[in-house]
Subunit: 114 residues, 2 copies
């Protein structure tokens, strides 16, 4: 059994085209022995956002702190702590911090996703 | 894109041998179109606990609220909001609320787990 505090996990800048003010922690990953999916925590600074893009894998998201939106072809959905988002494979999406404090959420993906 | 608040998802009692004071919400499940893994939220009442058992699939856990422990063959680990637990397949484990308030955590599993 592996037990760790998220705050103790190294936080990296996300250097991805279309991303701004985004940091990531890999909380549970393949190297930990996870057979098929990984748990990451994203932190977006005020105004920060992920790229508006699509890919072949899904996202399973749970909002931890702050205020933001999930955007897609059909518009934007408001997010607050306790909101859950499922983004199916191949669907365009982005996440954005619309508040004044850090916006944090878990985002789980199958291995092989980046 | 599916967006829902956890609080709006139906909460069921866990009627499993060895479980006491445990409720579950299936936040993202196979029926939602999730290809390979599911997101559940567990809520344990004070003193509540899951069975001390093992099974063929992993758990990826993130603690949301309250105080508890994760127990295994090697003893107990204290859990608080922001603590992450990875339980590999086939490893014996249980979760217990050791506080005075509800103890809530996310627990993600591959499809086929119960």
């Amino acid at each position: 059994m592996l037990v760790r505090r998220a705050i103790d996990v190294r936080q990296d800048d996300v250097e991805q085209e279309g991303a701004a003010g985004v940091k990531i922690r890999w909380l549970i990953k393949k190297d930990d022995g996870a057979p098929s999916f990984a748990m990451r925590e994203f932190e977006l600074e005020p105004g920060g956002h992920t790229p508006f893009h699509a890919h072949g894998w899904e996202h399973e998201v749970y909002v931890l702190a702050g205020e933001g939106v999930a955007g897609g072809e059909e518009g934007e959905f408001p997010l607050e702590p306790g909101t859950v988002v499922f983004v199916p494979p191949k669907e365009k999406h982005y996440f954005k911090n619309t508040g004044a404090a850090p916006f944090r959420f878990l985002c789980l993906v199958p291995h092989g996703a980046v």
